[in-house]
Structures are given as structure tokens and as C-alpha cells.
């Protein structure tokens, strides 16, 4: 509250005429208008004398950088005015083509340098449908192609169809079981083809509780690696005497599956206090005479605990296993630490056996936000993973569990998770990973997305 003195002063001065043009009776006294005043002329050069030697030297030393800067400035202006920035931004997203088609680029370093393209179109045949074609080819011979079609035929009812093909010319094999040794690494060519259909029912409106029923026909074949310089399973000392079950033979069959997914995370990039649970059971009918049929089961739970403020503790537990009374399945169809990074700091598909059990734990905290906590930003995280494969449940033990730990940074964009960069340290070395896939909340759109991440069985 202003004092009585100030109010009195205000009243006294307010009685004088005052203007908004900068002249009149001011707190300093009368200020004449410009036409009646001596004007203040500020000297042009305002540096003190002592500054000139220092500043002059600095300007000389800085000159080359100024030249570079001037060149960079011209380049930036040229790129901006030519529309390059605009078109580059479009390339990073979806490009709209005629007839409602959209094209996006794909770049995959994990399978070697390559290029890919996605083409998808909405409302194919009827509203609520979409079709997607994906393709990828790398210089190392990896090939991937898929077609996915999704139709929402009623509210929370959808039908998904998918076809796909994948060629991995230098897939790795380390042996079967939790005790497989890194030094035994050998290579082979793996070729998959599949086609399937899946029905989905949303059981609850408020949150995602979805039942799925699917049928998938798949074939797998294996042979020697493409790269003659790599050790082949057939020639490797570790496996030449006893090749893994199914090597060199084709596996062919149909799997019927039933799954249930409960997801309360609302697909947020930073879920807090929510979780995701998946249960799936399937039966693989082998169509090759000597190949066994088998059951597969998968249990997965993820929970995102809110700690203090918006710090999160993310925990993911997953176990998958297969049961068969007819013998050993094709080795490619065994459970493994597949994409995406179920065992960080270890190679994907490093371990194979009838069962897999793993635990991933992350502590996440924000380190940068563009404008608001839940918007675009960067999170740092510390993680530890521990997992193993097993042929029998008796093999699950601390002796066989393989730990890893590390940290990284997640980029979160307007549409959710964008990318992560991390360093993982495990028993078999240190791995740096730059990836656009998540360890948690990874989408299992499966048929529509070309079964990426792909369970190769």
C-alpha cells in the first residue's frame, strides 16, 4: 500500500498538467518540450581508450571466424529461402502423395546401412480401414517386406490381415541354453515368410482391455551365411558335429493364438502410476512331417511407478516358454532375447532355448523440456536388466541370469517416444545403442506393422 506521503505527493503533482509526450512537470521538476530544449548528442564511439588495443587484437583474431560465420549465414539463408528446411521437415515426417497415399522413409542401422520406405493409405474400401506396405533393403543383404491391412468393422472391433517376408543373410547363432558362449558365435542365413489374420475385441471403453484371436501361417528356412568371411554354423567347430535342430530344413506350420492385453498407460511417453499387462497362449500346428507341434505361452507385466515429482520407476517382467511332447522344435522357433533389447548390452538373439525370463528396470527423470513437463523433452534414465533362457524351469537360477546395467537419454516428441541413445554394460562387453524402439511399451501391432519387433517363430 502506498504511504500517505506518496499519496499527497501524487495529488500535488497530479494537479499540474502532465502529458504523455515526455514533457511537463516531472518528479525532477519541469521538463521543457523538445523544441525548447538543448538536445543530448551522444558521441558515436563509446569505447574507452584502454579498450582499443585489446579489442583491436581481438577483432583481428576473430576475423577468420567472422568470415566463416558470414559464409554459414549465407548458407542458412539460402537453405531457408529455397525451402530446403521446409522440405527436410516434411521428409522427416510423412509425405502426402496424390490419392491419399503417404510415404515415409526408414533407416535401419542395426541390420546394416540400408534404405526403406513405408506406404500407407487410409480408408481402403471403407472408412476406418488402413493399409500399409513396408520395405527395407540393406547393403549387407537384409531384406524385409510386409503388407498389413487393418479394418475397424465396429466400435472397438477390428480385423487385421498381414503378409510378410524377411531375409537375414548373416543371422547369428551362439548355441542353445543359458550357458551358450559368446566365443561360439557363428552365422547362417534365415528366411521367413508368413501370413495371418487377427481379430481384436475391445472389452472396456475407459481403458484398453483387448482380447485377440489370431491365426498365423509361417515358414522358416535356414542355410549357410551369405558372407563368406563369416563363420558358418556348418563349418564352426562348436556346431559342425551336431547342427541345431532343424538347420537346413524347412519349418512350416500354423499357429492359433489367444491373447489378452490390458493397457492403462494411454500410450503416454512418460506413463506414471499406470501399467501394461499381456497374456498370450498359442498352439503351433507343424505341417512338416517330422517337425513337432508345440504350445507357446507369454506373460508380460509392465508397471510405471511414480516416485517423487514426476520421476518414474519402470519395471518390466516377461516370461515366454514353449511346451512340446513331440521333440525339439526348429531352433529358429525357440524363445530368444529378441528385439527390442530385452537384454541390453547383449546382442539380439544371443540366447535361445525353450523358455525366456527377464526383468528390466529403469529409473527415469527429466533433464530438458521444451515448454511443459509432459511435452517435448529429454529424459535421462538408469537401467538394469537381468534375464536368461532356460530349457527347464530348474535352470532358472542366479548362476544363469545375465545382468547388465547402464544409462541413456530418451527423446520424447509431440507424438510420444521418439528415440533413445544409451550405453549398456554387461558380462560380454559394452554396447552403445541408438534406437527408435522402446524397451517398454513397444507396440505389438504385429501383423499390421510387419510383425516388428518380429518374433521369428
Amino acid at each position: 500500500m502506498p504511504s500517505a506521503l506518496s499519496l499527497a505527493l501524487f495529488a500535488a503533482l497530479a494537479a499540474q498538467p502532465s502529458q504523455l509526450d515526455g514533457s511537463g512537470e516531472s518528479y525532477w521538476g519541469p521538463v521543457p518540450p523538445e523544441s525548447e530544449s538543448e538536445l543530448l548528442l551522444v558521441e558515436r564511439h563509446q569505447r574507452a581508450a584502454w579498450e582499443w588495443p585489446l579489442y583491436g587484437t581481438y577483432r583481428v583474431l576473430r576475423f577468420p571466424f567472422q568470415v566463416l560465420g558470414a559464409g554459414a549465414k549465407r548458407m542458412v539463408i539460402f537453405l531457408d529461402e529455397s525451402g530446403t528446411f521446409y522440405h527436410a521437415k516434411r521428409l522427416l515426417g510423412d509425405i502426402s502423395l496424390p490419392y491419399g497415399l503417404r510415404v515415409g522413409g526408414v533407416f535401419d542401422v542395426v541390420t546394416g546401412f540400408g534404405l526403406g520406405a513405408n506406404v500407407y493409405h487410409d480408408e481402403v474400401g471403407r472408412p476406418g480401414s488402413q493399409i500399409q506396405l513396408k520395405g527395407l533393403a540393406s547393403f549387407e543383404g537384409h531384406r524385409r517386406a510386409s503388407v498389413g491391412y487393418e479394418l475397424e468393422w465396429a466400435e472397438r472391433r477390428s480385423l487385421v490381415l498381414g503378409l510378410g517376408y524377411r531375409l537375414r543373410p548373416n543371422a547369428r547363432f551362439y548355441g542353445i541354453g543359458p550357458g551358450s558362449v559368446e566365443e561360439d558365435r557363428s552365422h547362417f542365413t534365415q528366411e521367413n515368410a508368413w501370413g495371418g489374420v487377427e481379430f481384436r475385441w475391445g472389452l472396456r471403453r475407459a481403458e484398453k482391455l483387448e482380447l485377440s484371436l489370431g491365426a498365423l501361417q509361417s515358414s522358416v528356412s535356414t542355410r549357410g551365411p551369405r558372407d563368406d568371411g563369416l563363420s558358418s554354423i556348418e563349418d564352426d567347430d562348436a556346431f559342425a558335429a551336431m547342427l541345431p535342430v532343424g538347420y537346413g530344413e524347412r519349418s512350416y506350420g500354423v499357429e492359433l493364438s489367444l491373447g489378452l492385453e490390458h493397457d492403462t498407460t494411454r500410450q503416454e511417453a512418460r506413463p506414471l502410476g499406470t501399467g501394461l499387462r499381456r497374456v498370450r497362449a498359442g498352439y503351433f500346428f507343424a505341417q512338416e512331417e517330422e517337425e513337432p507341434s508345440f504350445w507357446t505361452f507369454r506373460l508380460e507385466a509392465q508397471q510405471f511407478f511414480r516416485l517423487w515429482w514426476d520421476r518414474a520407476f519402470a519395471v518390466r517382467g516377461v516370461t515366454t516358454w514353449m511346451e512340446s511332447d513331440e521333440g525339439d522344435p526348429h531352433f529358429v522357433r525357440l524363445m530368444s532375447n529378441e528385439d527390442p533389447d530385452q537384454m541390453r548390452a547383449y546382442d539380439d538373439f544371443r540366447f535361445r532355448d525353450r523358455g525366456f525370463i527377464g526383468l528390466n528396470v529403469e529409473y527415469r527423470y527429466p533433464i530438458w523440456a521444451y515448454s511443459e513437463p509432459k511435452g517435448t523433452g529429454l529424459d535421462a534414465y538408469l537401467f538394469t536388466d537381468t534375464a536368461q533362457v532356460f530349457g527347464r524351469t530348474a535352470e532358472i537360477s542366479t548362476r544363469n541370469l545375465r545382468p547388465s546395467y547402464g544409462g541413456g537419454i530418451r527423446f520424447l516428441g509431440r507424438r510420444g517416444f521418439g528415440a533413445r541413445a544409451e550405453i549398456g554394460i554387461g558380462e560380454e562387453g559394452t554396447a552403445f545403442r541408438l534406437s527408435m524402439d522402446q524397451v517398454f511399451q513397444y507396440p505389438r501391432n504385429a501383423l499390421y506393422d510387419g510383425r516388428e519387433p518380429i518374433p521369428l517363430r
Binding site: 525532477w28 548528442l41 584502454w50 511443459e372
Partner: protein
């Protein structure tokens, strides 16, 4: 110590001392309240069109690096313990340490007791005439919010911009309030006002070009108009709310740079980062959370006034203030620059065990028309614009004090009048905004008054030097009973001053001037205040004995 090293040390000491020593010459001449920067200019200066992408790089990386390696700044920083400043003092202040009127700034509420009503309308309060339709002559579709340039029945051009449908009223209110505050402070601003109009009032003119996001252009149609307006919120009576900004008189020649100067403008003699009113924008920006202070939010106009043509400098676009951005409420803006590597490293290292203050800021509950604007967590010295501003980096204590002095002159009644012009739907929003502005005003004023004692407006009257304790008068220290003290010394005006007399304490801001009868032409007086936490640094006032005129004020 070798001769060379002795020379180096002496040079350094000399340099340090040079930064701390001021000009001691005094003159008994009238104070100059107008800067000579409005001489007639024949040729229109070249239009500037700075590239935003380049500015983002140079403001964020290039210029800060250049400033860091400037050796003159190192010397100045080293002189700070000896009373110097980290940068040169502002070059365009008069002997009373005030900013003269110029093409940049006109003293208003900081120097004059202006009534709230006289400031309500800002520079004019002119809105588009409703006598006829508004003809759209240009459309803006890029950016977050659309807008149009319209021609009204009186032949005036206006820029019409809309709020985002999700955040109706926030940005337009912020623009109306902040524009009036900057105008009242003394800056040149456009005439922004909140307007309501029916959609039918807009019609598309002939051959209106529509700029598309890819840079191409085509003729605009009524369908385009409808599409653009489709996402704009409508009131219950169907009217649309917008902020109208009357086109400024004169020829636009692009924004002004916050550093350097226009070399083709003979009136632009002072580097902009050396101008106090440009530096002072930092303090106003902190008060209003005006985080978008890039040069593109300024505009130079080549105007003709009173038979002279010259460049006049404006601040424009105040929609990104008071806790909101063009895209809606902005929580982090104003607390950090867009990317602050030091802050990112700090947060990474502390493993999330420390919470940033900006994350604690919340919007007022139930007031959808208010963004992230409050005073509880406000740090007057912690403001950061989205992109580093070179003039803001050069703010000295005196610059900050000058701006804070003006800010403290805004009474609650002034603020209420400005907030009423925002035309909030909810009366509670008015009360909240007035309260937040007032609270932040007081915090800013106190923060800078602790840097420089707020003893000001010195006048000789009846043998005594009267002055104002702005901190006490403006209610910033209600709990304290201030004490004042002063001392004096004869001064020949050529740098020779007698020894100071003993300090004399008093309860009132008044210094007896017996020494006015001195044989020297001038007398110097030092004044200080104690609010219970020790005596402030003194303010030195020089008075001419013959005329009784205050000829100079030194605050450092």
C-alpha cells in the same frame, strides 16, 4: 619480477582503475531531457529482414561465444570488486542518470504522475471501424495462430490475430495488457486492442494472396477464409474474439538489432546494447514474463513527424507474455533459454533429486483465461528469454534500477485499468491478474532496490536537498522504519573535492545544505538509507551552489 611483468601488472591495474573512475567534471547547465536522434533523414534506410533460423544459432551459440572471448569483458569483470561494471555503462543517459526522450523511448509513468485513466487506451485505443465490412487484404496462415490484415471503412489497416480455440482469451488478453504496460513505461508500441466481431464482417478483397506453409502463394477465396476461421473459437452469441493491432504510421524497415546499430541511419549513433532503455527491456520482460524478445518482435518505422523524417523504434507482438505463448500456456518459458546445456548437464548429474522451480508453477485453478503466471516462485533475477539477448547480457545495476523504478511507479489501480482492457470473461481472472502483476512488481522493485538504493528525484528547496525514498513511498517495505543519513563536501567541479563532512542521520529524506554557501561552485552530497539491515551504498548528488540546480547524480 622482470620489467616486462611489472609493465603488464601496471597495465592491468591501470585498466582496472580506468573502469572504476568516472568523469568528475561538473557543469551548471540545464539537464538535457531529449536526445538529438530525430534529425531529418533524407534517404529511407534499407529494410532489414533477419533470418530467424540464423538468429536462433547466432543468439544461442555464436554471440555468447563471441562475448565470452572478448578480452575487454574479462578486464571489466575483474574490475567489479573495485566498483566497476562487467560491461560499459549505458551511453545514452543524462547527468541525472535518466533516459532522455528519443525515437526509442518517451518518459511517462516513470517520471510523471499519470492517472490510470490517461493510460487506459495505450497509444490510442483505436479499433477497426464497424461502419462497414472489414476487407481482408492479406492472410497469415503460417505459425501457430492465423491472422489477417484488414482494411476498415476509414481506410486504416489492422492486423487481426486470433487465440487458439483451446486457449481462448489467453494470448489476446496478454497482448492487450502487456502492450499498455510497455506504453505506459515509455516504449513505442502499436495500438493493440481486444475486439469482438461477427464472422460475416470479414470479406475477402480482390487479388488477395494466400501464403502457404511451403512458401508458395495463391489467390485467396471465401472458402479459404471459412477454412481458416473454422478452428477459431466462437462466443455464445457467435462473435469471434481477436486482438486487433493498428498498422503503424510510416514505412516499415524491419526490426532493430539488439546489438550494433543501423549504419545507414545517421541518427543511430549509439550501439543498441549500450542504450539503457534497450537493456531495460530485460527487467520489464522479467516482470511480464515476456520471453519472446527476439529482434523479430521489434519494428523500425521510417516516420514523418513535425516536418522531419526519421526512424522510430517500436516493440511489437506481446501475445507471448503473462505465462502464455502463441501456442497456449507456456510453463517453462521465461525460466531458461530454449536449450541451456549447463542446466541439462546439471539435471543429468543430480539424478532427478532436485526439482526446477518452473515445474512447480501451476495455472490458477478454475481460471482458464490465465496462463502460467504467478508470483510465488518468481525470481526477478532469474528471468531468461527463449533466446539469449545481447542487450540483456549487458544490463548493469543502474540499468536494472532505472527499469525497476519505472515498474514500481505502476499502482494497483494502473494495473487494474490495463487488465480490464483485456476483457476477461471471468471477474476472478481480473483480480488474479492484477494481484499477480502487483506482487511481481513489488518483488522486482525490491530486488533491484537492494542493488541500488532507491533514493531519487533530488531537488533543492529552501536550503535543503529533498529526495524521495521510492522504497518507502511505494509501499515496498511496510515493516521497516527507514533511517537516512547524508554528508557533504565542497566541489570545484573540475575533479577536486574537499573531504566529506561527518554523516548526519535523520528520519526523513532531507539533507540540510549549509555548505551551499561554500566558495566553490558546487557541493556534493552523499545520501544513504538503512532499513534495519545496514546502510546502503550512498548516492552522490552534485548541486550547483549558484543556481541550486542538481547537476549530476551518481549511483555507483
Amino acid at each position: 619480477m622482470t620489467v616486462a611483468n611489472r609493465f603488464r601488472c601496471a597495465s592491468l591495474v591501470f585498466a582496472l582503475a580506468a573502469t572504476a573512475v568516472a568523469d568528475d567534471t561538473l557543469r551548471d547547465t540545464p539537464i538535457r531531457w531529449h536526445e538529438d536522434d530525430r534529425r531529418h533523414v533524407v534517404n529511407v534506410p534499407e529494410e532489414r529482414d533477419p533470418n530467424l533460423h540464423w538468429d536462433m544459432f547466432s543468439d544461442s551459440i555464436g554471440d555468447p561465444i563471441a562475448r565470452f572471448f572478448d578480452p575487454t569483458r574479462w578486464v571489466r569483470r575483474a574490475s567489479v570488486p573495485f566498483g566497476g561494471n562487467h560491461v560499459p555503462s549505458a551511453a545514452n543517459v543524462n547527468r541525472l542518470d535518466e533516459v532522455p526522450n528519443s525515437s526509442w523511448f518517451t518518459n511517462r509513468i516513470g517520471l510523471y504522475p499519470l492517472s490510470p485513466e490517461s493510460l487506459r487506451r495505450g497509444p490510442g485505443g483505436i479499433t477497426p471501424s464497424t461502419d462497414a465490412d472489414w476487407v481482408v487484404v492479406r492472410a497469415k496462415t503460417e505459425g501457430v495462430t492465423p491472422g489477417f490484415t484488414i482494411l476498415d471503412a476509414d481506410g486504416d489497416l489492422f492486423l487481426i490475430k486470433f487465440d487458439r480455440a483451446k486457449y481462448v482469451g489467453i494470448a489476446s488478453a496478454a497482448a492487450a495488457i502487456s502492450q499498455r504496460i510497455f506504453h505506459a513505461a515509455g516504449y513505442n508500441v502499436p495500438d493493440d486492442n481486444v475486439v469482438y466481431f461477427p464472422e460475416e464482417r470479414l470479406v475477402v478483397g480482390e487479388d488477395v494472396k494466400l501464403s502457404l506453409p511451403d512458401g508458395s502463394r495463391r489467390i485467396m477465396s471465401e472458402v479459404d477464409l471459412s477454412e481458416i476461421l473454422a478452428d477459431v473459437h466462437r462466443e455464445s452469441d457467435g462473435r469471434i474474439r481477436a486482438i486487433s493491432s493498428k498498422f503503424l504510421d510510416g514505412t516499415p524497415i524491419g526490426p532493430f538489432n539488439y546489438q550494433s546499430r543501423r549504419k545507414d541511419d545517421p541518427n543511430d549513433r549509439v550501439r543498441h546494447e549500450r542504450r539503457r532503455e534497450v537493456r531495460g527491456i530485460a527487467v520489464f520482460a522479467a516482470w511480464l514474463n515476456h520471453f519472446d524478445t527476439k529482434q523479430q518482435n521489434s519494428l523500425d518505422m521510417f516516420v514523418e513527424e513535425e516536418g522531419r523524417s526519421f526512424v522510430k523504434h517500436y516493440l511489437i507482438d506481446f501475445a507471448s507474455t503473462l505465462g502464455t505463448g502463441a501456442g497456449g500456456p507456456a510453463q517453462r518459458f521465461g525460466w531458461e533459454v530454449t536449450v541451456d546445456p549447463k542446466a541439462v548437464v546439471r539435471r543429468t548429474a543430480n539424478l532427478g533429486l532436485w526439482e526446477d522451480d518452473w515445474r512447480k508453477v501451476e495455472r490458477p485453478e478454475g481460471l482458464d483465461e490465465i496462463g502460467f503466471f504467478e508470483a510465488e516462485h518468481f525470481d526477478p533475477m532469474g528471468f531468461e528469454p527463449l533466446m539469449p539477448n545481447p542487450a540483456f547480457a549487458d544490463v548493469t545495476r543502474r540499468d536494472g534500477y532505472w527499469a525497476a523504478k519505472i515498474i514500481s511507479a505502476f499502482t494497483d489501480e494502473h494495473l487494474r485499468v490495463f487488465v480490464e482492457e483485456a476483457r476477461y470473461q471471468n471477474p476472478a481472472a481480473v483480480e488474479y491478474m492484477v494481484g499477480a502483476l502487483a506482487d511481481r512488481r513489488d518483488r522486482i522493485a525490491r530486488a533491484w532496490f537492494e542493488q541500488v538504493a532507491p533514493l531519487d528525484f533530488f531537488r533543492v528547496d529552501g536550503g535543503g536537498l529533498h529526495y524521495h525514498d521510492l522504497g518507502a513511498e511505494r509501499g515496498l517495505y511496510p515493516e521497516s522504519l527507514p533511517r537516512y543519513r547524508h554528508r557533504s563536501a565542497a566541489n570545484d567541479g573540475e575533479g577536486e573535492r574537499a573531504d566529506w563532512s561527518a554523516w548526519v542521520e535523520s528520519d526523513a529524506p532531507l539533507a540540510e545544505l549549509n555548505a551551499l554557501r561554500s566558495s566553490t561552485p558546487f557541493v556534493s552530497i552523499q545520501c544513504a538509507v538503512d532499513r534495519g539491515d545496514g546502510w546502503s551504498d550512498p548516492i552522490t548528488v552534485h548541486v550547483a551552489c549558484a543556481s541550486g540546480r542538481v547537476v549530476k547524480v551518481e549511483r555507483e
